[in-house]
């Protein structure tokens, strides 16, 4: 029976799709058969970030409407064994997703897969609600910035009340905090909220901290999840997060200002 994890945030542009791609890839690398579903109907991005935009034939809405089978729509990732992507439709809008349709797709996937990652759109409307409805766990992606934190708080409230688990009265959705675009230098300068500040406001367990990194933009444009760029701090941070998600106790890295060695300071860059 697959575990359904929704990657949500409330605020847009904080790193949900980036995270979905990397966490999905990380889980597959560790040997778990994983599917990543793009719930952002009309504004699909997951296919671009995963580098499979030219192989999209059928999409999520096609499967719900019965125009195609799940097998036909799922795109097998070329780099990572056991990783599959279900892209969103670009020509429709969010009303094309129905609860029954989504439930059926998730149930069908659950038979074969270990993990289903739901990449949620931004906001608190139908698209985001649909992505989180069936979730067992949620990774709330947050930037250390006041509006992102407030929106994440809002999303947490909605998760508590509007998920299937909440409605039926099962154990609540397990919440994780993933802090992205973190910069220890700016925290020390007092310009940015610290990990402790965000944890204080949101009060959910910290899954990981992904430092601000130029590697993320590069990875997006290359269509490669940043976790595969394992020399970079961002990639390593995602790998740590996947490890923690699987239950391992991994110490948090990249929270302190890095002491640059002589050569690094002369040559610069990361």
């Amino acid at each position: 029976m697959a575990k359904i994890i929704v990657i949500t945030s409330g605020k847009g542009g904080v790193g949900k799709t980036t995270t979905s791609a990397s966490i999905g890839t990380g889980l597959a690398i560790k040997g778990h058969k994983t599917a990543i579903i793009d719930f952002d109907v009309g504004l699909r991005n997951l296919d671009l970030i995963m580098g499979c935009e030219r192989r999209v034939v059928y999409d999520f809405v096609n499967v719900i409407n019965g125009d195609a089978t799940l097998k036909q729509a799922l795109i097998k990732d070329k780099r990572t064994e056991k990783l599959f992507i279900l892209p969103a439709s670009q020509t429709r809008d969010k009303d094309a997703l129905t609860r029954e349709g989504v439930e059926k797709v998730l149930n069908d996937l659950a038979e074969d897969f270990d993990f289903i990652i739901c990449d949620s759109p931004a906001g608190i409307e139908a698209g985001a609600l649909m992505a989180m409805y069936f979730a067992d766990e949620a990774i709330v992606v947050t930037n250390p910035e006041v509006s992102s934190v407030r929106d994440s708080d809002r999303i947490l409230g909605i998760l508590q009340s509007k998920s299937r688990r909440a409605e039926v009265g099962n154990e609540p959705v397990k919440e994780h905090l993933l802090l992205t675009r973190y910069s220890p230098e700016r925290v020390i300068a007092g310009e940015m909220l610290s990990v402790a500040d965000v944890e204080d406001i949101l009060a959910i367990p910290l899954l990981g901290v992904v430092p601000e990194s130029q590697a993320v933009l590069k990875a997006s444009n290359q269509g490669q999840p940043v976790i595969l760029d394992d020399k970079t701090h961002a990639g390593q941070a995602y790998a740590d997060a996947v490890s923690r998600l699987l239950g391992n106790d991994v110490q948090h890295r990249f929270l302190e200002v890095e002491k640059k060695g002589f050569f690094n300071r002369v040559i610069g860059g990361r």
């Binding site: 407030r150 809002r154 947490l156 409230g157 909605i158 009340s161 204080d200 009060a203």
Partner: protein
């Protein structure tokens, strides 16, 4: 020997007293409608007694019939008039009672906002008589919340206190007819005594609230003294002003 048709008994009645200061139909109607909106049950279920002791101007200018008619249109129940001997004739003609001057004290009733009364506003005062016929409500258990109250959520404890054993996030609202206890950081808005209980209080472990209000008298975060911010405090009404004191 015929059966007794009636028996006379003494009784004490709780009423709302409407102290009239000025009367022009448009302003009076508007202001009265506002007050009714704020506390509909109170004003529409209690009988109303007009007190003209503080009327500015000549009471003889008042037309009791028109006044009563207006109030009845707004579903109020005018009972009688007092403190206006000049009008006794007109009052009796209107069908209402001329009541003796009050000897009890009237307690000011909670206003809808803490802003100063605009000129011409009529204040509603509630008479609290010793041994009044007010029923003692059965005890309603406090509403207990153990999870953080998240931004956008609203929790209302009707007829009771509200106890929150976690934080209240910015953008959340917690309301209670009674007291509010927040055993955590209070970052949102807290409104206690929302039905008019002026003895209600708000307690919290860390004051970071956007707004605190007791029975409609509110204080914004900007008005809170620096030394009280993020400290354990209680907020309560003292002489119609909301005071915040360290715990």
């Amino acid at each position: 020997m015929t059966d007794l048709c009636f028996q006379l008994k003494g009784s004490v009645l709780t009423t709302v007293v409407l102290e009239l200061h000025h009367f022009n139909e448009v302003d009076f109607r508007r202001q009265l409608e506002q007050k009714i909106e704020q506390a509909p049950q109170l004003l529409q279920q209690s009988p109303i007694v007009f007190d003209l002791a503080k009327y500015v101007g000549d009471p003889a200018d008042i037309d009791p019939v028109a006044l009563v008619q207006l109030c009845r249109e707004l579903s109020l129940q005018p009972l009688g008039f007092r403190s206006c001997p000049a009008l006794n004739e007109a009052i009796r003609n209107s069908g209402l009672a001329v009541l003796p001057a009050s000897s009890g004290r009237g307690t000011p009733f909670a206003e809808g906002s803490s802003s100063t009364n605009s000129a011409g506003a009529s204040r509603t005062a509630r008479e609290s008589e010793a041994g009044s016929g007010k029923q003692q409500a059965a005890r309603v258990p406090s509403k207990l919340v153990t999870q953080p109250v998240r931004s956008g959520q609203q929790i209302y404890a009707r007829d009771s206190d509200l106890v929150i054993m976690s934080q209240v996030s910015e953008g959340a609202e917690v309301l209670a007819d009674g007291n509010i206890h927040v055993y955590g950081g209070l970052r949102g808005r807290a409104l206690a005594g929302v039905q008019g209980d002026m003895t209600a209080r708000i307690f919290c472990h860390s004051l970071e609230a956007e707004l605190l209000s007791v029975a409609g008298n509110f204080v914004l975060s900007g008005d809170v003294a620096e030394q009280l911010w993020k400290k354990p405090v209680q907020a309560r009404l003292k002489d119609d002003r909301l005071c915040i004191e360290p715990l």
